[in-house]
């Protein structure tokens, strides 16, 4: 079930009618949350519910065993990680692995057909599998590292693992942040409730109005409809940059808003990434829950930046490449991860050897270079094949300022301007105390959110699945 579907509206209405009645019966409340989450997930394909339950049970039991039998903790941890990685391997990467092995055998003049022999279930990617397996893994790792006491309440554990607002597309919630919230009987104040509603409205606006309308131009461009050159591709990629940002951030905002209505708090997953003035800065603002996951569970355990410069670069390359692979079992995601590693490496070397920032204010130049690097990076992410990557990049770097395509795409381009305006408002409110105060007055706030609701209802674009569902 998707947030932007009709069944979800019915589902959420029933859920929030039942939720307050179970205020004092906490275990029943968690049971409602878990059952609702399973209905929410099972609506897509109920068979894959067993996967969440299995993966969850393995981690729930492993964590208890790790804590109880410290001398054998490593064995239980390895078992838990193997199960999770195994599930990911079978359901997400088996097709890619089989394809690559076919290439190797082909190269050795011994052609074999492995991909066709994969069982059918291995070819279906369960929605949100990367999100919940990572969430589940972080729980056992944290227990192993003694940063977290394992919960003995299975209802708490599955409420954490399967909570429907974040189950299929994050944010990836950490057990140490969330389990303690479950122990407290939280009362949702009127302000918290209103803040939750605001987040939900903003999220829906970002997804249905901005992302879905921008997707029209992007989808046509990548389907090869009337492709132009030069500036055409830069605008297409800028539209895609906003599309993916508002699509994913929209989902995260709705998830945070729904959690708030239940009395829980999820951390922010995006922090205006396109105002970043370096790629490092970008990664502290983009998909924060995933970046910090990779930092804490891959980069730092590999040695982080504490084992010399070369090792630090190598660790960063490994982390970013894995992060690319996390997004999908396609070669373009791996290239995307490696491209970001390369640019981050260059950025590190340049900033270490050329300390320009102390002499000049180069913020605008840095911002422009960062945005340029990010836009080029998105080509690897969006393209469906290496050929398409080459086609789009050569289009981008062919000088051409022909703007005839504007006539065909007036509507998506208007939403592009709206997207810039929407992000621009953040900068204005950050820098202008007057504007910030004005936007918080009751009248302006009411008017703003009423207009956003109207836009969601009447200006929504063609309905599209959330992009990050496929990961």
């Amino acid at each position: 079930m998707s947030f932007n579907s009709f069944p979800f509206i019915i589902f959420i209405a029933i859920f929030f009618i039942a939720w307050p009645f179970l205020k004092k019966r906490r275990n029943q409340r968690f049971a409602l949350l878990i059952i609702s989450s399973f209905v929410f997930y099972g609506w897509w394909d109920w068979r894959f519910l067993f996967l969440i339950i299995f993966s969850g049970l393995v981690d729930f039991i492993s964590a208890i065993l790790i804590s109880r039998y410290r001398s054998r903790a490593k064995i239980f941890l390895v078992l838990s990680i193997l199960v999770n990685i195994g599930i990911l391997g079978v359901f997400k990467y088996s097709s890619l692995i089989a394809e690559q092995m076919e290439h190797i055998f082909q190269f050795l003049s011994y052609p074999v057909a492995l991909k066709d022999k994969l069982p059918e279930f291995a070819l279906i990617l369960p929605v949100g599998i990367s999100f919940y397996t990572f969430q589940s893994m972080s729980y056992t790792i944290d227990v192993y590292r003694k940063r977290l006491e394992p919960t003995k309440n299975i209802l708490h554990f599955f409420s954490y693992l399967a909570m429907f607002p974040q189950l299929v597309a994050g944010p990836i919630v950490r057990a140490k942040d969330f389990l303690k919230q479950l122990k407290v009987n939280r009362k949702v104040s009127a302000i918290e409730f209103w803040n939750g509603v605001k987040l939900i409205i903003i999220g829906y606006f970002q997804k249905t109005v901005l992302a879905d309308n921008l997707g029209v131009l992007v989808d046509n461009a990548f389907a090869g409809v009337d492709n132009g050159l030069g500036i055409y591709w830069w605008i297409v990629m800028a539209c895609f940059a906003f599309q993916i940002y508002f699509d994913f951030n929209g989902y995260s905002q709705i998830a945070r808003g729904l959690a708030k209505l239940m009395g829980y708090h999820f951390k922010m997953n995006f922090n205006h990434p396109y105002i970043a003035i370096s790629l490092k800065d970008f990664w502290t603002r983009w998909h924060i829950s995933l970046s910090t996951w990779f930092r804490d569970y891959v980069y730092i355990p590999l040695g982080g930046s504490k084992k010399g410069e070369f090792r630090s670069h190598a660790n960063m390359w490994a982390t970013m490449t894995l992060s690319g692979l996390w997004h999908g079992a396609q070669i373009n995601f791996i290239i995307w991860g490696m491209y970001h590693s390369a640019v981050l490496s260059i950025e590190r070397i340049v900033s270490r050897h050329l300390n320009l920032s102390s002499k000049f204010n180069l913020s605008i130049l840095k911002w422009s270079v960062t945005l340029f690097a990010v836009l080029v990076g998105w080509v690897f992410f969006r393209a469906s094949s290496v050929d398409q990557i080459v086609f789009v990049l050569s289009g981008m770097f062919t000088p051409n300022i022909d703007m005839v395509f504007i006539n065909d795409y007036k509507d998506p381009l208007l939403f592009f301007i709206a997207a810039i305006f929407f992000e621009g408002l953040f900068l204005v409110s950050k820098n202008s105390r007057f504007f910030s105060r004005l936007s918080k007055t009751t009248v302006v706030e009411a008017l703003t959110y009423a207009i956003l609701v109207c836009a969601i209802l009447f200006l929504r674009g063609p309905e599209k699945e959330f992009i990050y569902f496929q990961f």
């Binding site: 009709f6 007036k410 009423a450 109207c454 200006l459 063609p462």
Partner: protein, 293 residues
């Protein structure tokens, strides 16, 4: 706040312009066409030239009210999957039954046999189909509009202006109208993708099979522009005379459209609405003549 929002939504809903192509109606249209269990006497089969070019209501009038379905899909090809689907939708064998094959050159190419539009609709999950057919239409009030529809007068808005009619016709025109637009597109479409003998054999075999089952089979080439027809004849491998001969040999009845260049296309491929109605009337009359024989 809630009252204010509701009032604003109501006003916006009442005063918003009518979209040039309704999303809700479009989704219902395709879901109905693909998943309806209604039965028909006459079923037209083909691609977008068909679903934009033949009005079943007009055909039905010429056929004394027989039930007619336009079973056209974007880039639709003629293959066994579609033929079986159509066979399921005929009325009982005691009533008049006829399949009308709209044999455009593209519909006989290998790429068209993928029938991706039909398959996409066919494979849509049941919940979505139910929602599109029976729930979403109640929310017509919330049909989305584009900014250009708000700021421009309706007849100057660029893009497809479509009305989705019951029984499968999309009454269409496009702004700006450009009868040469599709020529370039079709040059690409036929690159390494020519009318294929094996596909034609499948068609002829199906004609024989239907004839054995008592289903009349008609075929014709739907009018487009003279330039497009010349282009298709020169690059697609489509030989109308030969196709007609083999089609008739298999038991099919060919409908000749003698005034084929007197119809208007807005993009050089598809017929605009008044031409679609005219050609539908002509086809209906021709079928009636044949049925009377």
């Amino acid at each position: 706040m809630v009252g204010f929002t509701v009032a604003l939504v109501y006003l916006a809903g009442v005063f918003k312009p009518k979209p040039i192509s309704s999303t809700i109606q479009k989704e219902k249209f395709w879901a109905d066409k693909t998943h309806s269990s209604s039965k028909y006497n006459i079923i037209f089969i083909g691609d977008s030239r068909l679903y934009r070019g033949i009005d079943p209501k007009t055909v039905s009038k010429s056929l004394n009210g027989l039930k007619v379905l336009n079973f056209g899909y974007s880039s639709g090809g003629h293959n066994k999957v579609i033929f079986e689907e159509v066979s399921e939708r005929f009325v009982g064998s005691d009533k008049i039954r006829a399949a009308v094959l709209v044999l455009s050159p593209y519909s006989l190419t290998p790429k068209a046999q993928e029938n991706s539009h039909f398959n996409q609709e066919k494979e849509r999950n049941k919940k979505d189909v139910f929602s599109r057919r029976y729930i979403a239409p109640f929310f017509d009030f919330f049909d989305p509009v584009k900014p250009s529809e708000i700021f421009q007068s309706n007849d100057t808005i660029q893009g497809y202006h479509e009305v989705f009619k019951p029984n499968g016709w999309v009454e269409s025109y496009k702004v700006p109208s450009n009868p040469n637009y599709a020529l370039k597109v079709y040059v690409n479409d036929f690159k390494d993708n020519l009318v294929n003998r094996e596909i034609l054999d499948v068609v002829y075999n199906q004609v024989r099979e239907w004839r054995e089952q008592g289903v009349r089979v008609f075929g014709f080439r739907i009018p487009t522009t003279r330039k497009m027809e010349r282009l298709e004849d020169s690059i697609s491998g489509y030989n109308e005379k030969e196709i007609r001969r083999n089609f008739e040999k298999a038991g099919g009845e060919w409908i000749d459209i003698d005034d084929r260049y007197r119809y208007t296309s807005y993009d050089g491929s598809h017929l605009e609405k008044s031409s679609a109605v005219r050609v539908s009337k002509k086809i209906g009359n021709e079928i009636q003549k044949q049925l009377n024989k």
